[in-house]
Symmetry: C2
């Protein structure tokens, strides 16, 4: 069946490139603004921040660009974590903690202050709000759409795409299996799909009528062109921006991305419970089965990750990276955008 | 009446110097650890952070020092903010916001996630936890004391000192009127005292039997010696550490502290509603009366402060500094500590 014309985004971009929201530091206001100023659209990462911090970041970004900006929020689902499994993982990590002279973290669940951040979105009205790890209820999407805020949902399968469309999302962010960082899969207990991005885009296009932003593992202009040729309205890049001058990527993370000692990426649940792709290191290999209780495992490992960062221990740190990380270059984000523009 | 021997701290310090908790960036784990490694005790600033961020900072600090560390929490009291006054201040600030192409913030009250952070303190047990803007209830202090965590309360008057002692605090942090940043005054509606630090120390020593950490405006070795001679068990320094290599002080703040265009400090409520001392600039002078609703005014100005930071606008930014800021020097914190050690 021949595909129809690509469905376009509900706003104009000079360059059909989206800067992925990268929580934990990389997506600074400066990076987001630089991507938007270069003709694309940058996304702030609202995850793991207070509503206040999100307010500050949106405001800062607005002063640095007149272009469109997006904000990403986590949608954390309730879970019935297995306490014995969590305790077993804490025990497993005791040696790691002892090595740093610290304690393993206490598992707990929270919703990442979703309502508070939704309030910030209502007040400050970024051009687009995207959701990851789940899809908000229809009434939430409806309210945001009515306010003139475009609603995007990150999906990793046709089923998730259909759910998001049914509930009223106006854009889908299709994330392929090569993406760095967390997979957006709604149910953390499910193994994320491995369908290659081009196949996933085609399947989603056949199933829903929404404009698609697609990405995961994209690091070259040819790849950008290939994704657009499949009918995506824009391409999302993340890892490609990690070494940008404006990125808040930690020095350790920057060093690792350029260190030939790291030879591949791998998907792991060891750091947070949710599957995420990063540079393969000792911690990943030693802690292969860590359950899927998110964010409980995120909180168990938080002190270890903080200690590894403080000690610059690249073999114990989560070094998120997509499969295309070898093509990541340093320099101003504008130059990276120019390199990738179709 | 001759004063008795100074009451000593319940732990040993090689140097009787405390690094003040400075929220908003300066007090990084690296700075806190450097102060502790230099024989004093550094304090992390728990205010305006998530419990998770506090967890990460305590853990990072523990990996960087074996010395004692402190953590400061805000104790935010309920208030009956005058909605009309808040709205009037929002109107007054519209021009500032428009200049940046942004909106004034929405006022709201919250308790800075006090219970969540208390949970982190219980789990991670820093050597000392200090409280600012108020004194927790006796049962909270009692529980922490029982866990072996020393409890310190920041006070600005003899009355506050007596309250803290009555409720079970084991250390007092006596803050004089020359201190940079927020005054610790319990009731934000009250004008903070102007009694000089030496007089305040003497008055508090006559009223309570607890060991005192005292500071505010201290920037030279002679001043440190003078405070100790009055019977303080240790001296707290804050502004003196703002230009340390390990401090997270923003580039704008660093520049302002060394800019001869700034000639004095001033106490203002314009930025947050609570009195705080900083380098005198246009924003302070233009917005002299801003009410005392904290943290509502903090949230009203948050977007303006973020925008001013993004635009490097030193005349609109809160540039906290104590009166001794001219003696602040750059370099490793260890060198600053050595300069000030009695």
């Amino acid at each position: 069946m021949p595909l129809s014309q690509p469905v376009t985004l509900p706003f104009d971009l000079r360059r059909p490139i989206i800067g992925a929201p990268m929580a934990g530091g990389p997506s600074t206001p400066e990076l987001v603004a630089a991507v938007s100023n270069a003709g694309g659209m940058g996304f702030l990462a609202g995850g793991n921040k207070t509503p206040q911090q999100l307010t500050e970041q949106i405001t800062s970004t607005r002063t640095l660009t007149r272009g469109p900006i997006g904000v990403n929020l986590f949608v954390v689902s309730a879970n019935d974590a297995d306490d014995e499994e969590l305790e077993a993982y804490r025990q497993e990590l005791q040696d790691e903690a002892a090595g740093y002279g610290i304690e393993v973290g206490t598992p707990r669940w929270d919703d990442d202050m979703f309502q508070g951040k939704l309030g910030v979105i209502r007040d400050l009205r970024p051009d687009v709000v995207s959701f990851t790890f789940g899809c908000p209820d229809a009434d939430v999407l409806d309210e945001l759409n009515t306010l003139g805020i475009h609603t995007a949902v990150s999906v990793t399968s046709t089923a998730e795409a259909c759910t998001a469309e049914d509930r009223g999302a106006t854009i889908l962010v299709v994330q392929g299996p090569d993406a760095g960082g967390h997979r957006a899969t709604f149910d953390p207990a499910v193994e994320p799909g491995t369908e290659p991005l081009p196949d996933l885009i085609t399947a989603v296009r056949n199933a829903v009528g929404l404009p698609l932003i697609a990405g995961g593992g994209i690091g070259t202009r040819d790849q950008v062109r290939g994704i657009l040729a499949l009918g995506a309205a824009a391409v999302q890049i993340g890892t490609a921006l990690l070494l940008a001058d404006e990125a808040g990527t930690s020095p350790a993370h920057r060093a690792a991305l350029q260190d030939p000692a790291f030879t591949e990426t791998k998907v792991t649940r060891a750091f947070t419970g949710r599957p995420a792709r990063g540079l393969r290191n000792r911690f990943m290999d030693m802690h292969e089965r860590s359950g899927h209780a998110y964010p409980q495992i995120h909180y168990i490992t938080a002190p270890l990750r903080a200690a590894a960062a403080a000690k610059n221990d690249l073999q114990a740190l989560h070094l998120w990276a997509g499969t295309g990380y070898r093509t990541t270059r340093t320099g101003p984000a504008a130059d990276i955008m120019a390199d990738l523009a179709p």
